[in-house]
């Protein structure tokens, strides 16, 4: 069911479950991702897509299920573990420390140090200027806390942080929610570029229009369960919309455990 020639998935999440206080936020969800592939994870607000992805990024600890990275079982208990596997996440909330500057945010948790073990702020700022220059050439406000930046600028800081450390698996949770049309186009371009570099990308969105044209495959979730999977070439937007809203699996899709029994 993959569009890629690679036979081994980069990520294989199998039957992941997590519940909060008796509510099954994610139930037996399985999703995989191949190198150079973009998989869109779709669903209503509260369908469990962000929760599922937070298990992969180490923010939540799962109650059940397994995650394979490169074909072998991975231990992901916290965000640091996930980063160790090359999993980088751009959260919906951006997860930036508002009171420190761009370079400090880009390198948060992975600071560059001088030979004496102190922070090498100058080197970090130089690197920040380089990567931000590629992403957002007009960006100049390196000395200011991130709080002072516009929504789009903050978004580019969050994206820059994710790609700065040679991510192999990129998770983007509503990446264009805070952006204008021009910036959205830039992000789309970036996704295509990263894809061509062989990075696997999860795109999470509640709005199918945002992601349908970028994705190779879609996985739709509803009430914590996977409704079904489909290649974007095999279904149209209306059919995917039917999956999102009704949980009805069209003929071109592979049904999951959450599919409406027909």
């Amino acid at each position: 069911m993959n569009t890629n020639t690679a036979t081994q998935p980069l990520v294989d999440m199998r039957e992941l479950s997590i519940s909060f206080g008796g509510i099954h936020a994610v139930e037996q969800a399985s999703v995989d991702l191949f190198p150079g592939e973009v998989v869109a994870l779709l669903g209503h607000n509260g369908a469990g897509k962000s929760t599922l992805i937070k298990i992969l990024s180490g923010a939540y600890q799962r109650d059940g299920g397994e995650i394979d990275i490169d074909g072998s079982l991975a231990t992901i208990d916290n965000p640091r573990d996930a980063k160790g596997y090359g999993i980088e996440t751009i959260y919906q909330t951006l997860a930036l420390a508002d009171n420190v500057d761009t370079a400090a945010n880009l390198f948060l948790g992975r600071e560059l140090l001088t030979p004496w073990g102190t922070l090498d702020d100058v080197a970090m700022e130089a690197k920040a200027r380089e990567v931000m220059g590629r992403l957002n050439p007009r960006f100049q406000r390196f000395k200011e806390p991130v709080k002072a930046l516009s929504g789009g600028q903050r978004q580019s800081v969050a994206i820059a942080r994710a790609i700065l450390f040679n991510a192999r698996i990129l998770i983007m949770d509503e990446p264009t929610a805070a952006l204008g049309p021009e910036e959205t186009a830039q992000v789309s371009e970036l996704i295509l570029q990263l894809k061509s570099e062989g990075i696997g990308i999860f795109l999470i969105s509640h709005d199918i229009a945002d992601v349908f044209d970028l994705a190779d495959r879609v996985a739709v979730m509803k009430n914590g369960q996977v409704v079904g999977y489909a290649k974007t070439g095999d279904v149209d937007k209306d059919e995917v919309l039917g999956m999102i809203i009704l949980g009805k699996c069209p003929p071109g899709a592979t049904p999951g455990p959450g599919a409406l029994a027909s």
Binding site: P79, V122, A123
Partner: protein
């Protein structure tokens, strides 16, 4: 280059005063001075001048300024730690009680335990260091306990340290059943200041010069670093101005400490003991910088280094700005929080050493209400209770402001209740002005 768009817009709306404004704005931009810090120093100077006028010239004397520096030391040491605590959206209400308890432990160690168990007489050269180390270990353990409960068991810092305030005050009483322990070891006592606890004129000049050299070296180093990565440089005149101003302030402070001479009573005693020769009215021996002040300055330097140049410091501020994001970045936020409280405990122990040495005794009431002075110093010094913002230097100045208010009112002969009223009002006004300033910045 980085922020060329903003000053222009303010100039555009206010063309009449544009030229006048731009000189000040240009100056501040070129020197990269923190306007908030400048405002605070201005307020401090204003307080000093007003007190000097109202007390009939008693305030701005070498003697009073020297005393002020010694009196500030203990709270200033704790305020540097309180900055980190408040920056991470916590609070520590227990520092005064920890000071009291640790001071008592150090006093008992040197006056009662060491002589009995190790046979150390008073004035054994090891006594002071053992007592201080015991105090620091106990302080770190108390801070660690608080930090563990806050970070790992999830009890709010307000509650944990409110409990600590009661527990350690009670414990301080418990150590000796309320008995005051005195006197202290003579070497230990040097940490409290006084004519003996000051480093003298020549050493003060040497320290002053070393600080000046370090200051100039820092300016050069930062310029070289910026050049290496081709960042915008400060104009040369601004660098020279900052260096000159810094050296002038440092050497000025040394001069003031040096022209505060030993009181005539002590000179008389020394002549009698045969340590000095001559006529008592013709001998002038300057105090020089007091040891507690040096300790406080060293603590401030170490803490500033910790807060701005290390990963730990970076995490502290990130944690204050956005705890969730810091966690998601893979940082062990609980351990960072616990470390902050361990540092706070150690600083309480150092403050306890200063205050016990100065008093030459440990009492169970020592440090009562110091937590409020410490918090006030940090907050007046620009530490935001909402978290994420604060500087060590600001807290030091904040401590100086609080102490200036208190000793100024004593010099003016105000009653204690009135002093409290004034301090309370000033605290509220200071924080209000700060919030007005911050809103204006946006």
């Amino acid at each position: 280059m980085t922020d060329s768009t903003e000053p222009q817009t303010t100039q555009g709306t206010d063309t009449a005063r544009a030229s006048e404004l731009s000189v000040v704005a240009k100056f501040i931009r070129a020197t990269e001075l923190d306007t908030r810090m400048l405002g605070m120093i201005g307020a401090l100077l204003l307080i000093w001048i007003l007190f000097d006028i109202f007390s009939g010239g008693l305030f701005l004397t070498p003697r009073n300024l020297w005393n002020l520096s010694v009196q500030t030391a203990s709270v200033a040491v704790m305020a540097t730690g309180m900055v980190l605590v408040i920056v991470t959206r916590n609070i520590d209400l227990s520092v005064g009680s920890i000071l009291g308890f640790v001071g008592m432990i150090m006093a008992v160690t040197q006056a009662e335990l060491l002589p009995v168990y190790l046979g150390f007489g008073f004035d054994n050269p090891l006594t002071w260091i053992i007592a201080l180390l015991v105090g620091i270990v106990v302080g770190a353990a108390i801070g660690g306990l608080h930090g563990y409960i806050i970070a790992y068991l999830g009890v709010p810092a307000f509650i944990v340290t409110l409990g600590g305030l009661l527990v350690w005050r009670g414990a301080a009483w418990w150590v000796t059943s309320g008995r005051t322990v005195a006197p202290m070891d003579s070497t230990f006592r040097l940490m409290g200041g006084g004519p003996a606890g000051s480093i003298g004129e020549i050493a003060s000049w040497i320290v002053g010069l070393i600080v000046c050299v370090a200051l100039v070296a820092m300016i050069f180093n930062s310029r070289r670093q910026r050049k290496r990565f081709q960042f915008p440089l400060r104009p040369v005149w601004a660098e020279v101005f900052l260096g000159t101003l810094g050296c002038f302030l440092v050497l000025g402070a040394v001069l003031i400490a040096n022209i505060y001479y030993w009181p005539i009573g002590i000179i008389r005693k020394q002549i009698k003991a045969g340590l000095l020769e001559g006529v008592e009215t013709e001998i002038f021996i300057g105090h020089g910088v007091a040891i507690p002040v040096l300790i406080a300055i060293c603590v401030a330097i170490v803490m500033t280094f910790l807060a701005t140049r290390t990963r730990f410091g970076r995490y502290v501020f990130a944690l204050g700005g956005n705890p969730e994001a810091t966690d998601l970045a893979g940082i062990n936020t609980r351990w960072v929080t616990m470390k902050i409280f361990i540092i706070m405990g150690v600083l309480c122990a150092i403050a306890a050493a200063i205050s016990t040495a100065r008093l030459n005794a440990a009492t169970n009431a020592q440090g009562t209400l110091d937590e409020l002075l410490t918090i006030a110093a940090a907050v007046i010094g620009g530490t935001s209770l909402a978290g994420g913002v604060g500087t060590i230097a600001g807290a030091m100045i904040g401590a100086l402001v609080m102490q200036s208010l208190q000793s100024g009112m004593v010099l003016m002969g105000l009653d204690t209740p009135l002093q409290n009223i004034v301090v309370g009002i000033v605290l509220v006004i200071a924080v209000w002005l700060d919030s007005v300033y911050r809103r204006a910045q946006h």
